[in-house]
């Protein structure tokens, strides 16, 4: 049956010529070879799957192809395979096969690469609402609330245009201006990512801040290039007077005078002045007041007027027991407690409107417009030489980030909305003055204690505050306020060796202290201590503090006791610690009996502001405690030192 006869070969046809070897191969050979091939394939598959099971369709296909090739070659069927290929090439047209191979390859690649996106895209067509395109907008704490309201209003307006879906979402969040600028310079590094999301848009209070970032970028190429819209609205800095000042509507005795005249008038009337601590409002007012007191040149020659002014402001704080270094929220909180007995305040018009809304019991309560007004109302006086926030909008073009078309559209739409009628009307409702031409209404009306036409009628100061003037005036202020003694006492116990990323807790705390030192040293005499059971409580300087090796237990009570004694009456002890006392050499009672210095505590790691001794000592001495994490040490220490 087999032997020399022309048996049809596998895949072949009986009447066609066959290669010699295959033609003569007995059927038992084919069976044997086929069986060998199957055994090789099974063996290969079993041993592979035993070692490492396959994962995924693609890998299974690749593996299958490999097994077949191995089996065919291993069983000696390669010649048969070549014969089969030759036969196929003879029977079919190679050009046609080649073209089909190319086309099929392309289709398969497209299918594998674009299949899922195509399915997703199709599915999105039938989705009721696609996810809104997100824009992250950074502003300052003072502007957070109005900008959040504006962002929500914008999203609602866009949703109304687009049926019921919200095409865009603007998430507004805040960081203090100094931190925002530093974060932009740092390319929103990991340190800043731990504080806030990476911004797409920046909404600072003043173009001076934008200018500072641009100037620095020009020098060292740090920070993102920006597309800047100069101003979306304005907020003037005002003198907010309590009712006992006897102010009348459009009172010519007060309105349109210089800051210096108004300060003199307040002093004549026995009314103190409260100025927010580290804030742009406080800075702008300081510059304006110093300028009208003679300007930088005169104050450089004789700083006495500035010193007298600062001393008077300090006595105003003490008389009303306003929180030293407090921001506008803390100061207005105290002002509410004092009612009409409160001092005059430097505020942004927006903050004053919001304060009055609170004392009125909401926007529909009795107005602060001199007629049966509730106690605690403040009234705006517009000094002729005051500055205003010009509210720029900067689109941040981060290097290496290709902003999607959707987000570009979202940002353009937000800018256009803010500049359009709807945005400007919404701004008025939030207490922000839009560019001229938009009618003003409540809360930019007399019921809020303001004069709607106040800025154009009374403020003569136009243009942006120049950075160099600001720097010079702030430097004079820091110099004349340099009165306090501050002792910073840093925990150097063993737990401070704990590593955080590439650094120890101790290293991070030292860096925070070094960061804060220069600024603090401008206004206080600063000394440093470290403490641990191994080294005791030891004075160090700015260099040697970095060379201390943390070790041993935590004599926290002793550090407080000795620190308070060293700082002395009127001084400030700043305790930076990551744990609790575990050296029983000083009792809580001894700490409680020590008086004189004010104690501020920065607690992190395992330390907590809730600890009884820390809590007692800060409360008793009029100090405060801030809870920090290792990531926020620099920021929290700077915040804590604002109270010095």
């Amino acid at each position: 049956m087999h032997g020399e006869t022309n048996e049809p070969e596998p895949g072949g046809e009986a009447n066609e010529p066959q290669p010699h070897r295959e033609a003569n191969r007995p059927e038992s050979d084919w069976k044997r070879l086929s069986l060998t091939a199957v055994l090789i394939a099974v063996g290969t598959a079993v041993s592979q799957l035993a070692v490492q099971p396959l994962d995924g369709t693609l890998r299974t296909i690749i593996f299958g192809v490999g097994v077949v090739i191995l089996a065919v070659v291993g069983a000696g069927l390669i010649e048969w395979l070549l014969w089969l290929l030759r036969r196929l090439l003879e029977r079919f047209r190679p050009q046609r096969i080649a073209v089909t191979v190319v086309v099929a390859t392309l289709f398969c690649v497209m299918g594998v690469s674009w299949g899922r996106p195509a399915v997703d895209w199709t599915a999105k067509l039938f989705e009721p609402c696609p996810p809104p395109v997100l824009v992250r907008a950074l502003t300052t704490p003072e502007l957070l609330e109005p900008y959040r309201e504006l962002a929500a209003e914008f999203a609602d307006d866009e949703a109304a245009k687009d049926g019921s879906c919200r095409p865009f979402e603007v998430y507004v969040y805040a960081l203090p201006a100094e931190e925002a600028k530093a974060g932009l310079h740092a390319g929103w590094s990991a340190e800043y990512l731990r504080k806030a999301p990476t911004p797409d848009v920046w909404l600072p209070e003043t173009g001076m801040h934008v200018e500072q970032v641009v100037r620095r970028r020009d020098i060292d190429k740090s920070g993102p290039p920006m597309d800047v819209t100069e101003s979306v609205g304005t907020i003037p800095i005002v003198l907010a007077l309590p009712a006992r000042a006897g102010l009348r509507p459009e009172d010519p005795e007060w309105q349109g005078k210089t800051w210096q005249d108004l300060v003199d008038k307040l002093r004549d009337n026995g009314i103190g002045l409260i100025r927010p601590g580290k804030s742009t409002v406080g800075e702008f007012a300081t510059v304006a007041i110093y300028s009208s007191a003679g300007g930088a040149t005169r104050l450089r020659e004789n700083a006495e007027p500035a010193r007298q002014f600062e001393s008077w402001v300090d006595s105003s704080f003490q008389a009303g027991r306003y929180p030293a270094g407090g921001n506008h929220t803390a100061l207005l909180g105290r002002h509410r407690e004092l009612g009409d007995a409160g001092a005059a305040m430097v505020l942004s018009e927006l903050d004053m409107i919001r304060h009055n809304e609170d004392v009125r019991g909401g926007p529909y309560g009795p107005g602060c417009d001199f007629l049966d007004e509730p106690p605690g109302c403040l009234h705006a006086v517009y000094p002729s030489d005051t500055y205003s926030f010009d509210l720029p909008l900067a689109v941040l073009n981060w290097p290496g980030l290709d902003r999607g078309a959707g987000q570009r559209r979202a940002i353009d739409a937000f800018k256009a909305w803010l500049g359009g009628d709807a945005g400007r009307e919404a701004m008025v409702l939030e207490g922000i003055r839009p560019p001229p031409g938009t009618p003003l209404q409540s809360p930019l009306s007399a019921v809020s204690g303001i004069i709607p036409g106040g800025p154009p009628n009374h403020i003569k100061q136009h243009g942006r505050l120049p950075t160099n003037i600001r720097d010079e005036m702030v430097s004079i202020k820091d110099q004349v306020r340099r009165t306090s003694r501050v002792l910073i006492s840093l925990d150097a116990s063993g737990s401070m060796r704990e590593r955080v990323g590439g650094q120890t807790r101790y290293g991070l705390a030292v860096k925070a202290i070094q960061d804060a030192h220069a600024n603090l040293a401008r206004r206080a005499e600063v000394t440093l201590n470290v403490f641990s059971a191994t080294i005791g409580v030891r004075p160090v300087d700015l260099t040697s503090i970095g060379q201390v090796q943390p070790a041993g237990n935590t004599p926290q009570h002793r550090a407080i006791l000795e620190g308070m004694r060293a700082a002395g009456r009127g001084g400030v002890l700043v305790l930076v610690t990551d744990g609790s006392n575990n050296v029983p050499d000083v009792t809580p009672q001894q700490v409680a009996e020590q008086s004189g210095a004010r104690v501020l505590v920065l607690a992190f790691g395992e330390a907590t502001c809730g600890a009884q001794v820390l809590n007692d000592v800060t409360n008793r001495t009029g100090g405060s405690c801030r809870q920090a994490s290792v990531d926020t040490l620099s920021f929290e220490l700077a915040e804590l030192l604002r109270g010095v």
Partner: protein
């Protein structure tokens, strides 16, 4: 003949395509994982000794070809959410793994920001059922629970006793104020009522504590039911009570840290807070921690909101198998034990709570485990963030108007639930 040629060409083309596409895939290491770095984005690690980072360091030592890095985001939940969404939309470095708040899992799954896990080789039997359920959506498993959380009632001991109902807490406050008491005491109870997710959490718990629902099992908003209204009114009544004041007005600006400080300062006798407050007010490593604690913990009078975070694979990750392996490592029994025992993160695996050292270090373990088991889920919806915002607006309005739930509250919440 013609069709045979096409057939052969098509098969050959498919094979070429497979080889071509295979070449574009990340190289596989011996362990079958795609080589290259893995990026996790997560809220800041608040554990004692940064145990998450320590686990990642351990992973990196044993998997040098797939080194992982944690990029930490701000502490605030909103800041984390919007940074993660920004990244998912392509604005910033795309992560391989998101550490998602439990309430975001549904949205990230629905929006295609994350990929489902390959369940075929996963053993999920050791996880506590409640936190694991937050990882499922639409019939698929999208994440594994990294840590879980439940609210606890902290009370100053021996001044007051553990309240088992809201009324007992109110009575305890009145009784405390009626006798000689610490001069620092200002009110009975504080919690997190500032305008952030904490306010929504407290809203849910007050409604549930009164036997009501905010959103029922069928997805219907039930805010206008008498029980739901009664629950919310307790907050308003507490704020407007006095003397004695049940809830201090400052609670409306307090978050977890601020309320913990107020409790630590002795201004209140009771506080609702997460377990993190326990380890912040007590340091088990310090020698003086052997002293008698000034507080104890008990379950909340009603069910707590179930908190916690889930680890999910970014759909944009080119290293999904490596990412899944890392997630499995971080949620393994050993990792969960380290995170709880040393770091204080409540474990998502039940076996960890049986460990003697864990029980020694965290004496509140039983209260915590029971609270987690009976905790309830916030609405599972892709629109949770919008819903939470609307719910907070309703609560704020209610608190501003002495407990009157706005008449259109149901409509507003229903609309928010649908984005």
């Amino acid at each position: 003949m013609k069709w045979s040629s096409f057939g052969i060409g098509a098969v050959a083309g498919a094979l070429v395509a497979v080889v071509f596409v295979s070449c574009g895939l990340p190289a596989l290491e011996d362990n079958g994982l795609e080589a290259g770095p893995l990026l996790i984005i997560s809220g800041a690690d608040q554990s004692n000794g940064r145990q998450r980072q320590q686990l990642v360091d351990q992973w990196n030592r044993t998997n040098p070809d797939t080194p992982a890095q944690i990029e930490e985001l701000a502490l605030g939940a909103d800041d984390q959410y919007f940074e993660m969404v920004g990244r998912a939309q392509g604005n910033g470095r795309m992560p391989d793994i998101y550490n998602l708040d439990v309430t975001w899992t549904a949205e990230f799954a629905e929006r295609g920001y994350i990929s489902p896990l390959d369940e075929s080789e996963l053993d999920t039997s050791g996880f506590i059922e409640n936190p694991l359920a937050t990882c499922r959506y639409d019939g698929k498993l999208w994440a594994l629970p990294f840590n879980t959380d439940a609210g606890l009632m902290y009370y100053r001991s021996p001044d007051v006793k553990a309240p088992s109902t809201w009324d007992e807490m109110v009575d305890g406050t009145r009784s405390l104020f009626s006798g000689p008491h610490d001069s620092r005491l200002r009110a009975g109870y504080t919690t997190q009522l500032a305008d952030y997710e904490g306010l929504a959490v407290n809203g849910f718990e007050m409604v549930w504590g009164a036997g009501g629902e905010v959103v029922d099992e069928d997805g219907e908003v039930r805010i206008d039911s008498p029980k739901a209204k009664a629950g919310l009114r307790r907050l308003a009544d507490g704020l407007n009570s006095g003397p004695p004041q049940i809830i201090p007005p400052e609670a409306r600006s307090q978050d977890e840290t601020a309320s913990m400080i107020a409790f630590g300062e002795g201004k209140v006798a009771y506080m609702r807070n997460w377990p993190v407050a326990f380890r912040n007010m007590d340091n088990p490593d310090a020698e003086d921690a052997k002293r008698q604690l000034f507080f104890e913990v008990a379950p909340l009078p009603g069910p707590s909101v179930l908190g916690g975070q889930n680890l999910a694979i970014s759909s944009g990750s080119p290293r999904k198998q490596a990412a899944q392996a890392l997630i499995e490592f971080l949620t393994s029994p050993r990792s969960q034990q380290i995170l709880f025992e040393r770091g204080g993160f409540a474990a998502t695996r039940s076996i960890v709570y049986e460990d003697a050292e864990v029980q020694r270090r965290h004496p509140y373990w039983k209260v915590l485990r029971d609270s987690i088991t009976r905790a309830k889920h916030r609405p599972v919806t892709k629109c949770y963030v919008q819903f939470s915002r609307a719910f907070r607006d309703v609560i704020n309005q209610m608190l501003d108007s002495e407990g009157k739930v706005p008449p259109n509250a149901k409509e507003r919440l229903t609309a928010a639930l649908k984005c």
